[in-house]
């Protein structure tokens, strides 16, 4: 079986030729097997979110190739790649349309990659299925299908965005610090939902996080990034045995500095 995702030596420099020039990705290589759930950690500016944005096609990379399930998507525009990708963002506002209802948001997501024509935007059958899926979230959203998403809390919006990402099974689920803006209790709940959705649909997933415990506890593989490169890649049993202290040591070894001041969190 081939890889679900192949990232071959991608480079990206922002503001090239100006005093604000910033090398964000400096030769990232990564291969994911189908069903891999990889957590990504690293300090500020390490290139974690930038890697996810490169895959999503928010901008074009300068060099390198991105291949999803055998299809080279390096030159595809953002909306065309969306067919392959489910995305959840750090800001709960980003993943949903606030002025549209829960069911309308879901109906839009259910049509990802399909031609959108003059058929009615949502069918009764769909509505029933959405209600059932919302019920499983246990957030009391099943009775609020026609509520505007803008009225919901950040956690509820992230849960809906997760559901939306899985309505049309993606080849790859990209979670970009999707719990960072939530309080600890809600964050735990959203992580639990993420795990459940990934397992249920047997998804290949990447999750950027600042929380090392989460990075160890979730997924079957962990990578650490530093200065636009992957510096550590661990999977399986070895990953399960990791401790936060191991990661800290690894980071210090790579960067040659302590990162007590960094945004990376220990708990």
């Amino acid at each position: 079986m081939g890889y679900m995702l192949e990232i071959q030596d991608i480079h990206k420099t922002f503001n090239k030729g100006t005093i604000n020039e910033k090398v964000a990705l400096n030769g990232v290589n990564l291969n994911l097997n189908p069903g891999d759930f990889v957590t990504i950690i690293g300090g500020n500016g390490a290139g974690k979110s930038t890697t996810l944005n490169a895959i999503a096609g928010v901008w074009a990379v300068d060099e390198g190739k991105i291949i999803v399930d055998g299809t080279d998507i390096t030159r595809l525009s953002e909306h065309k790649r969306a067919v392959y990708l489910g995305r959840v963002f750090q800001d709960p506002m980003t993943g949903t349309a606030a002025t549209m209802s829960i069911e309308e948001n879901m109906a839009i997501a259910a049509r990802r990659g399909e031609r959108r024509g003059l058929g009615w935007g949502i069918s009764r059958k769909e509505r029933d299925s959405y209600r059932e899926q919302l019920r499983e979230l246990n957030l009391g959203l099943e009775d609020r299908l026609s509520s505007k998403v803008g009225l919901l809390s950040g956690g509820q919006r992230q849960a809906i965005t997760l559901l939306m990402a899985s309505l049309k099974k993606p080849k790859l689920l990209l979670l970009d610090e999707h719990t960072a803006a939530l309080d600890p209790k809600t964050a735990a709940k959203v992580l639990e939902i993420s795990d459940k959705i990934i397992v249920e649909h047997n998804l290949t997933a990447m999750m950027v996080t600042h929380n090392m415990r989460d990075a160890i506890a979730h997924g079957n593989r962990l990578i650490m990034m530093h200065e636009g490169r992957v510096i550590y890649d661990v999977a399986g049993e070895e990953k399960k045995k990791l401790h936060v202290s191991d990661l800290l040591a690894k980071f210090e070894e790579a960067s040659g500095s302590e990162f007590a001041n960094d945004r990376m969190m220990l708990s």
Partner: protein
């Protein structure tokens, strides 16, 4: 002096003006419906309107002069408006020009194009022209009620069509683009396409409005759309201020919102005719419109600012 001023005001004259004001409000309401699509649904300040309204009028009048049935000419007025919207859309999406500037460029170029269509600044429809879709003559005719019933029916059909369209998959993708383009793209929506499409539909309605209004006043003028965007915004905002709460939460709230725009437009023209009746110099009408729009646009912002201040104080 005050007594003298009031004695000059004739209540009967104000009443006499009402039917004409309503007709004008309905016709311009179609334009306001177009403005609503860009301004509220797409979140795009589209100034193409000032040009495309006159384009619709010019196209309709020239085709009628050439012998076309006035109703059929409106199809071409609609298409001409769509074309104008497409130009703005492409300037913005394909060439990366900021939206408001793209629309100004189209608006300015339409001034020349409208002159080109008409050959001069003003063209009129013959006095004996039959079958006009709307005309000042109908307003005071014996069967004016039939005319108004037809006008209202026509406007309701447009409301139904726009309501239907924005409920479809395609329409929903335009709404998502206006609300959150990042989400729209993540869900596979080509936001460039939806933007151009929304601008085309919007300006199509504006062109249609211009075509009907030119028939109504028996002429098209290169300046007939000047300030149209402000009138459109005024109609939208008046409708939101008065009917916003009433419409919210209803089952087909969006349809009520769209229909309310026509009422907003009528109320705007009522207010104008009242101001003129009060013998205010009509030169000041555009200033008056701008102040009304600025005021109502500022209200939600100032309310929010005030609320934040209060929260901090606590």
């Amino acid at each position: 002096m005050i007594v003298e001023y009031f004695s000059l005001l004739d209540p009967a004259a104000l009443m006499r003006n009402i039917p004409g004001t309503v007709a004008q409000g309905l016709i311009w309401g179609i334009m306001a419906l177009g403005v609503y699509i860009t301004f509220r649904i797409l979140d795009f300040a589209d100034l193409t309107v000032d040009g495309s309204l006159a384009t619709g009028g010019a196209v309709a009048v020239m085709l009628i002069q050439g012998g076309m049935h006035p109703a059929v000419s409106l199809i071409f007025a609609f298409l001409a408006g769509m074309l104008a919207g497409m130009v703005t859309g492409l300037l913005h999406t394909a060439l990366g020009i900021p939206g408001i500037l793209a629309s100004i460029l189209t608006q300015i170029s339409l001034y020349s194009i409208n002159l080109g269509i008409m050959g001069k600044a003003n063209q009129s429809v013959g006095i004996t022209q039959q079958n006009l879709v709307a005309s000042i003559k109908y307003v005071s005719a014996d069967d004016s009620l039939v005319f108004f019933a037809k006008m209202i029916l026509g406007c309701l059909i447009l409301v139904a069509a726009v309501y239907w369209f924005f409920g479809t998959e395609l329409g929903a993708s335009i709404r998502a683009t206006g609300c959150n383009p990042q989400m729209a793209r993540a869900q596979g929506i080509n936001t460039n396409y939806t933007k151009v499409l929304a601008l085309m539909i919007s300006n199509g309605l504006v062109g249609l409005s211009g075509g009907i209004y030119a028939q109504y006043q028996s002429s098209a003028d290169v300046n007939m759309g000047r300030g149209a965007i402000v009138i459109g915004l005024a109609a939208v905002i008046i409708s939101e201020v008065i009917f916003g709460k009433l419409c919210a939460g209803k089952k087909i709230a969006f349809a009520y919102t769209l229909a309310a725009i026509f009422v907003g437009s009528i109320l705007y023209y009522m207010a104008c005719s009242l101001v003129i009746w009060l013998k205010v110099d009509s030169n000041y009408m555009k200033l008056f419109s701008a102040i009304v729009v600025a005021f109502f646009l500022a209200v939600p912002y100032l309310k929010e600012k005030h609320a934040v201040k209060n929260r901090r104080a606590k």
